[in-house]
């Protein structure tokens, strides 16, 4: 099993009466609540957390894209990934992902992902989400009735841009380009691995199987409520005669660690409370613009064959309820290890993305959690699912062929900084 350290980058300073005064954390929350100086401190603290995760041996560090959102302050995840590419060494860089329809033209994604892959020495995992309805329709004005068709075309264009070695013309319905000719090309061949984050739309499973993409279920409701969705994923793979490789699936789980179970509640509850009761305060009228979900997915959701797993987001629950229902996996390292092994076995996912920064948790608490996880939990989880090839993982350059950030300055410093004067 491989474990990614995934950051949402929430704003930590929403007012106490936020829920009473505003109808959502997203889309139309007035930005007068945002203080750029606090934002400066947060971005740097959050990047420090990700860099620490790299130092502690996590397999990947992860970022994602949201717009006009106080729990996800990364409208451009690629900027964060670029910072990480320079300041991390071992970890892969999981960008989950770029909402590819929002980039005009979508070759922008092919270019920026290629840049990240080249800067990082081939460590990129490229995420291709459709993007939530809040992000794509309400914030960026994409038409909900055509977004999925546009998404498929953007996907095809990006793949072709990565693959072709000669300029080509692209006459699409949504993008028309006379000359597509990608500079630079990614290091990874034939392309960086692609992961598709989903929320349980049934078409996404076939889409992932057709393209051999990883299906990443990004839920905030924890692994017990994810069972039906992941069971359906495995059932669809079996039906389509795709292999049962656990690495074809990924799951996001929020995790809190302290020295003991009792200490965990005391240390983490204020931050968990902030997340579930402030960050997930959403306005339901903007969850699904008309046409954003296909009729098949809507029907499935309405009659609850696979749906209703995102219906209850975990608001107004006690610490005990959140723990018991596994919205969060929380406690001592031993408690967390047991529950995550149960997660891995019940969902059968080879990739676990853990959210170790939750809500308003500051760096001392978060990094302690990261440290406990890395030293007490990670080693045993790594042993799960031996014998499966992970073909959804980057193939970076070998270490000896990578250029370390700063190393070129060091190599030439003495020569450059020699005393001025004529050569005599």
């Amino acid at each position: 099993m491989k474990i990614s350290w995934f950051h949402l980058m929430p704003y930590r300073w929403l007012p106490p009466d936020f829920r009473e005064r505003y109808h959502s954390v997203w889309v139309d929350l007035p930005n007068r609540l945002y203080d750029p100086e606090r934002g400066h401190a947060l971005y740097n603290e959050y990047l420090d957390m990700l860099e620490y995760a790299d130092q502690m041996g996590f397999d990947a560090v992860g970022v994602n894209e949201h717009h006009q959102n106080a729990y996800g302050m990364m409208p451009s995840p690629n900027l964060m990934a670029a910072a990480l590419a320079r300041r991390t060494e071992r970890a892969m860089i999981l960008v989950l992902g770029n909402s590819i329809v929002l980039y005009n033209p979508p070759v922008r994604v092919a270019e920026e992902f290629a840049m990240l892959d080249v800067i990082s020495g081939g460590r990129l995992i490229a995420g291709f989400p459709v993007g939530t309805s809040m992000d794509t329709n309400y914030c960026y004005g994409e038409n909900p009735a055509t977004i999925r068709e546009k998404y498929r075309e953007a996907n095809d264009l990006i793949l072709k841009a990565w693959a072709e070695r000669e300029p080509f013309a692209w006459n699409g319905k949504y993008t028309k380009l006379r000359y597509v000719n990608l500079w630079p090309q990614p290091i990874q061949k034939p392309r960086p691995p692609v992961w598709v984050p989903g929320l349980g739309s049934i078409e996404t499973w076939d889409w992932c199987i057709d393209h051999d993409y990883n299906y990443s279920y990004l839920s905030f409701s924890g692994y017990k409520r994810a069972q039906r969705v992941m069971d359906s994923w495995w059932a669809q793979r079996a039906k389509r005669r795709a292999d049962d490789n656990p690495y074809s699936g990924a799951f996001f789980q929020q995790v809190c660690l302290s020295d003991t179970d009792a200490a965990c509640e005391k240390e983490w509850w204020p931050h968990v409370d902030y997340f579930f009761n402030k960050c997930l305060h959403l306005y339901p009228a903007m969850a699904n613009a008309p046409g954003y979900m296909t009729e098949a997915s809507l029907r499935a959701g309405i009659v609850a064959q696979v749906g209703n797993t995102t219906g209850n987001m975990g608001m107004n629950k006690t610490w005990k309820e959140l723990c018991e229902q596994r919205y969060i996996v929380a406690g001592s390292p031993e408690t967390v290890r047991q529950q995550l092994e149960e997660l891995a076995k019940s969902l059968r996912v080879g990739h676990l993305a853990v959210g170790l920064q939750i809500g308003s948790s500051p760096i001392e608490l978060t990094n302690r959690s990261t440290h406990l996880f890395a030293t007490k939990v990670l080693p045993s989880l790594r042993n799960l699912f031996p014998g499966y090839e992970d073909r959804w993982w980057p193939k970076p350059l070998p270490r000896e062929r990578r250029t370390a950030p700063g190393s070129r300055n060091e190599a030439v410093r003495a020569q450059v900084e020699r005393p001025a004067g004529g050569a005599a």
Binding site: Y138, G141, N143, P144, A145, E295, R299, A304, N308, G311
Partner: protein, 275 residues
């Protein structure tokens, strides 16, 4: 044929083109009725009254009723041409076109594109124009029950109450009947069609084409329209060469549902009295 009891028929427009359900009732001069984003869930409101005076043809856009084939219409130009195709299939020559809200926008665009093919025009609180100081309400970003105060002046009137009742179906519960599930899906399907042409801002440059309209045009507006402000009536009237305004008192945006009698009377009167 009874005015209160429309006949429904389904027309195949041809390969690669939509299939259309048309509701028809009444006798007399042809009247083409273009519905709003709510579709025609029942033969109610102004429709039965108009059918006492005209031969009413009310085609449903793809996604509404039994009409299908939204994927054949890529953008608003396809939509306008489609509506001319429907007119042709119904054998209508220079009809009186009456459009409500979204239908009013389509009717105005048709009259601007092919002025000679539209005999007369009545636009009931049409969308299609935009002013920053009077933004048209976002119909795609509100809960159903939250839309009610924007659509009705009197929120206690029976159609407003019916809409509130329907909004209880939109919840996380799993206990809906099969019939309710289909009703909900039908409602979302219609809204999807509206969104395809109107999301996120219901404005596509109609204002610069309004001068092309030659049909005598009636603008009917609820004097308390909170969805598209009555000030838009003046904008339309200022740009359409032969237009006049009638305000319906004590009425909101859903004019055909809230005040069908004075609204239909104005539409009938306009046909008789000319411009």
């Amino acid at each position: 044929m009874s005015a209160g009891n429309p006949v429904s028929r389904v027309i195949e427009l041809g390969p690669g083109r939509p299939t259309i359900e048309v509701l028809e009732a009444g006798e007399g001069a042809p009247l083409l009725f273009l519905h709003g984003a709510g579709g025609i869930p029942a033969w109610a409101g102004a429709l039965p009254i108009l059918a006492e005076h005209f031969r009413v043809h009310a085609p449903l856009l793809p996604g509404f009723g039994k009409s299908a084939g939204l994927e054949c219409l890529d953008d608003q130009w396809d939509l306008f041409l489609h509506c001319f195709d429907v007119m042709e299939a119904l054998g209508l020559s220079r009809p009186y076109v009456v459009g409500e809200s979204m239908g009013g926008w389509i009717a105005a665009e048709m009259a601007a594109l092919r002025p000679k093919e539209i005999g007369r025009l009545a636009l009931a609180s049409p969308i299609g124009l935009w002013r920053d100081d009077a933004p048209v309400v976002d119909m795609f970003g509100k809960m159903t029950h939250e839309l009610v105060p924007y659509l009705f002046h009197d929120q206690g009137c029976p159609p407003a109450q019916a809409m509130l009742a329907m909004s209880t179906l939109v919840s996380d519960k799993d206990d809906r009947t099969e019939e309710q599930v289909e009703m909900l899906l039908g409602y979302i399907r219609g809204f999807r069609t509206a969104a395809k042409f109107l999301f996120p801002i219901p404005e596509h440059g109609l204002e610069k084409r309004l001068w092309r309209i030659t049909a005598p045009t009636l603008l009917v507006w609820g004097d308390h329209d909170a969805f598209v402000a009555p000030s838009y009536a003046k904008l339309f009237a200022a740009k359409i060469p032969n237009a006049r305004i009638e305000l319906v008192e004590g009425c909101g945006h859903a004019i055909g549902l809230e005040k069908p009698e004075p609204y239909a009377a104005a539409v009938v009167r306009f046909a008789r009295g000319g411009s």
